[in-house]
């Protein structure tokens, strides 16, 4: 397997706070990789740096062998990195279909073609029935699905999912996990930030753990939960008691 | 050389007056993220208030400075809930609505003043009017100097207030990060109302001085709106201390262009510098803006 995303010595600080500190990791093509860590450990900042919403203070990001550090977000999206937002950010006064079409314009300039691509993505994500609803009227679970759908519509090779599972009820969690597996089955690499360990551990093949902006461990999920540093920093009492 | 010194003094004195408007405006922006298009209209209203008070109550307009401050403080405090409503989350594009609202407010105030008071030009006389001090070879009009001193003092007092008072700390916290301030228990709504009130109070007070220096008429606000915009962009939007050098730069730019180039190009020079700043240093000359 090739390395799809390579992050090297990435640094970003806000005021005096070092949000991401000398971070390096790789994401293998075709994998589902998890990025976890306690609140404020720099996960979302890391996503924002990769997707171009923030400029790093130092370090480099390579995607499919190409330097993408400090490119504009829209360029990065067109190069093949889709992302969803932790707090869903739909275009509220547009329909579900229109939301997804906006992403599809990365691949085509034709309205009809964009609509075809968008409908296909909606079908895949299970939102086809709701295609004519205004995004403002969706439930939380559907909004999260819409986030994923919009990210998929740009035709990404790598999908950054920012907490798409947190906040869902148990049935919805199962549905979301199924969707993520299906996405990977289409050959799209998934890189996800997630809080809900019950979802991360069965889903991911590789997990990277952050604390205070630094990488403290990376390993397979079953080994991660036994890693003392991780337990110390993050998983804490809850998992120790269970295992 | 004499003319050069006089020009320098003129410029600094103009700058001193603009500081007061700029400080309130900048803070208002920093805390609430709203551009108040009515800034010049508050200046105009302050000037008119002084005029009417002198007309009916007599005495020197300077005596009414505190009254006018508190009057416009109260007015601002009462208007704030409307602005809050305009920008509250129920709207699709709150920031846009806030801008439009103050734009409408400016039109309303200006139209009201024109309708009520017409296009007449009024003026007030203070005990300092027409007096002047000699500063070496340059002549310093006393009223202008008073305006300058007032501007600097008001700004210093305001900065101290921000630095040392409890509410000042809350204001600064909000200017830095609204969400964080809210999490830390700052009543952001109340603080915003106070900031807006202080801004209208300060601007109204500046209006008294401007009215005494120049003439008072309903259309006078436009110019000060331009100045306020210029100052905040140069200072870096929302960065309050940057207002001081920016205001002096504006004053000097005006006086030097008028004397050494031509008065016709003064405003053009101002606009050119504004554009250049936006192009090269959008976060302000000191790079500390929002």
């Amino acid at each position: 397997m090739d390395m799809l995303l390579e992050v090297e010595n990435l640094k970003k600080s806000f005021g005096g706070v070092q949000a991401v500190d000398d971070l390096s990791f790789v994401v293998q093509e075709g994998s589902i990789t998890g990025l976890i860590g306690p609140n404020g450990s720099g996960k979302t900042t890391c996503f924002n740096l990769i997707s171009g919403l923030l400029r790093p203070d130092a370090g480099s990001i390579r995607f499919a062998g190409r330097e993408i550090t400090s490119l504009r977000p829209s360029w990065i999206a067109r190069l093949g990195i889709g992302r969803s937002f932790q707090i869903p950010a739909p275009f509220t006064r547009m329909t579900v279909l229109e939301n997804v079409m906006v992403g599809a314009f990365s691949r085509t300039r034709s309205l009809g073609e964009a609509s075809r691509l968008a409908l296909e993505v909606l079908e895949f994500t299970g939102l086809k029935e709701k295609r004519d609803e205004l995004a403002a009227n969706l439930t939380t679970a559907d909004r999260k699905r819409l986030e994923v759908a919009r990210a998929l519509s740009t035709g990404p090779r790598l999908l950054l999912l920012d907490e798409v599972i947190a906040g869902l009820n148990p049935t919805e969690v199962l549905g979301a996990m199924e969707l993520i597996r299906a996405i990977r089955a289409r050959g799209i690499t998934v890189f996800m930030v997630e809080h809900v360990m019950e979802a991360v551990l069965p889903l991911c093949e590789w997990v990277i753990v952050l604390n205070f902006g630094r990488k403290i461990a990376e390993d397979t999920p079953d080994r991660i939960v036994r890693n003392p540093a991780v337990i110390e920093a993050y998983l804490g009492e809850r998992f120790r008691a269970r295992s | 050389m004499e003319l050069f010194l006089q020009t320098l003094v003129d410029g600094l004195l103009i700058g001193g007056l603009i500081i007061v408007i700029g400080v309130g405006f900048s803070l208002c922006f920093g805390v609430m993220h709203i551009i108040d298009f009515a800034v010049g209209e508050w200046v105009m209203l302050g000037a008119y208030t002084a005029f009417w008070m002198v007309r009916y109550l007599g005495r020197d307009p300077f005596l009414y400075l505190p009254v006018i401050f508190f009057l416009y403080l109260a007015i601002g405090y009462l208007i704030y809930p409307l602005i809050h409503r305009a920008v509250s989350g129920r709207r699709h594009n709150p920031a846009l609505m806030g801008l439009v609202f103050t734009f409408g407010l400016a039109s309303l105030i200006k139209g009201g003043a024109l309708t009520a008071w017409g296009f007449h030009v009024r003026s007030v006389t203070t005990w300092l009017s027409g007096e002047s001090l000699a500063l070496g070879v340059a002549v310093v009009p006393a009223l202008r100097f008073a305006g300058f001193a007032f501007g600097v003092l008001a700004t210093v007092a305001f900065m101290l207030f921000l630095k040392w008072s409890k509410i000042g700390v809350a204001i600064r916290a909000m200017a830095q990060d609204r969400v964080m301030a809210e999490l830390l228990g700052v009543d952001t709504n109340r603080v915003s109302a106070l900031v807006y009130a202080m801004y209208t109070g300060l601007t109204g007070m500046a209006g008294v001085l401007i009215g005494a220096l120049f003439s008072i008429h309903a259309g006078m606000g436009l110019k000060y709106t331009t100045f306020a915009f210029f100052v905040v962009v140069l200072a870096g939007m929302g960065y309050v201390p940057g207002v001081i050098p920016a205001a002096f730069l504006l004053g000097l730019l005006q006086s030097f262009v008028t004397v050494y180039v031509s008065g016709r190009y003064t405003l053009l020079a101002v606009f050119f510098v504004l554009y250049l700043t936006l192009l090269v240093r959008p976060r302000g000359l000191l790079g500390r803006g929002w």
Partner: protein, 427 residues
């Protein structure tokens, strides 16, 4: 699949759009101005600024026009071939903007079918109205607008009773050059960037050059700027005369700035702006000694026969009616009415006027040469000031003891000019 995406876009809207296009395009109309219904009074349209920026000046012209109409009607109307015809003024506000002036003219002519038009206060609105009166061939006299631009355009149907500002503003300079001693040697001119003020400033310069006064600084600054630096720059030249081409607002601020800067030239010169009450109120005793210009005052000794016999009589009747002293604009507006009245009498036209009578009216106006309380009214028929009043001589004024006094030029003086101006603390 395409249908799926477009299904939400309402085709009804597109249909509506097409219908709209068709229905609106089909509205091909030609303006209809048929013959006016018979009546036994003259319908006089008035376009002037009753609101907006120039409302104050607009109301000045309105008082002048009203004074004419009311006086005529008190006498039973205009006497034409032994019969009297009353006049009815129909006002249309131009809101101080050219676009509205054009609409106002259009309304008066096509809706009200007025016989002739009394024009706006300002030059800008007049320049928008004149093409309309030209189009419908309706005679039009303005009692106030005076920009040379109007006359350069040579509108056939447009006349004016006030001589252009570029002639008037020369009067105070001429007085200072010829009637005081020692003769001032240098002048600094500061003008405001609007048409009226800029023409005045240019007139100051022309007059200074003509009478051998050296122009040491000439500058045009925009309206509303801080005038202190510009006044400082003028002061640095130490001129004998400081001339201000502006309306009263800027004049007040500039004179205030001069006082604060201890700038004490031998004479301050302004023109019309200094004759307004705002100027005197705004400056108080600092208005003293300021020179200015006008084309008419109530003290002049013209002898006339139409409606009013002397400027004094006009001023008294005016004061009794409106409670204020008339100024030159009010007098000129009344004179505009008088010019129409005389021309109508000469051609013996009765209301309503048909097109031939309107053209005859214009021809009569071109030949008009009458003496009124306002002075001679005679419209130029050639040259740069085509159709403006060439009969009048401008007067130099000065504030003396809180009053405006005629000080020149030459024989027009009713008092000696006070020169040089004493220092600020001794006025």
């Amino acid at each position: 699949m395409r249908e799926d995406c477009l299904s939400r876009l309402n085709w009804g809207r597109g249909l509506f759009l097409i219908l709209l296009v068709v229905s609106l395009l089909s509205l091909t109309v030609s303006p209809t101005t048929g013959a006016a219904p018979a009546r036994d009074f003259f319908k006089v349209g008035v376009v002037t600024s009753l609101s907006g920026e120039l409302a104050f000046g607009g109301n000045v012209t309105k008082r002048g026009y009203d004074m004419w109409a009311d006086t005529v009607n008190q006498l039973g109307g205009i006497e034409i071939a032994g019969k009297r015809y009353r006049v009815q003024l129909i006002y249309a506000d131009d809101q101080s903007t050219p676009a509205t002036a054009a609409v106002a003219g259009e309304r008066l002519i096509t809706q009200e079918q007025v016989d002739f038009i009394l024009g706006p206060y300002a030059s800008g609105t007049t320049l928008a109205l004149a093409p309309i009166t030209e189009k419908y061939k309706v005679p039009h006299i303005t009692g106030s607008a005076e920009s040379p631009l109007i006359w350069q355009r040579k509108f056939k149907y447009t006349f004016g009773t006030i001589p252009p500002v570029s002639i008037n503003a020369q009067a105070p300079i001429q007085t200072l050059a010829q009637d005081v001693s020692p003769k001032p040697q240098t002048i600094a001119i500061l003008g405001i960037d609007d048409p009226f003020s800029k023409f005045a400033a240019e007139a100051f310069r022309t007059a200074a050059q003509k009478f051998g006064i050296k122009v040491v600084r000439y500058e045009i600054v925009p309206e509303g700027s801080d005038y202190t630096p510009a006044v400082s720059a003028a002061k640095a030249q130490n001129p004998d005369i400081f001339a201000i081409g502006s309306h009263e607002k800027a004049a007040i601020e500039m004179i205030k700035a001069a006082k604060e800067l201890k700038f004490n030239p031998k004479a301050f010169v302004q023109h019309y702006g200094m004759t307004t009450p705002d100027f005197r109120k705004g400056l108080g005793k600092d208005a003293e000694y300021v020179f200015g210009a006008s084309v008419w005052t109530a003290n002049l000794n013209y002898k006339a026969t139409i409606l009013f016999t002397t400027p004094k009589e006009y001023a008294e009747k005016f004061k009794a009616k409106f409670g204020t002293e008339p100024d030159y604009t009010e007098a000129a507006s009344t004179a505009a009415g008088i010019a129409f009245q005389e021309a109508l009498r000469q051609i013996k036209a009765t209301p309503p006027l048909d097109q031939a009578e309107k053209d005859a009216l214009v021809a009569a106006l071109e030949k008009l040469n009458i003496m009124t309380f306002y002075g001679p009214v005679k419209f130029a028929t050639s040259g740069d000031y085509y159709h403006s009043n060439a009969g009048l001589q401008p007067i130099a004024l000065q504030y003396q003891g809180g009053k405006l006094v005629e000080v020149g030029p030459g024989k027009l003086a009713l008092a000696k000019p006070r020169y040089p101006t004493p220092p600020w603390d001794r006025r």
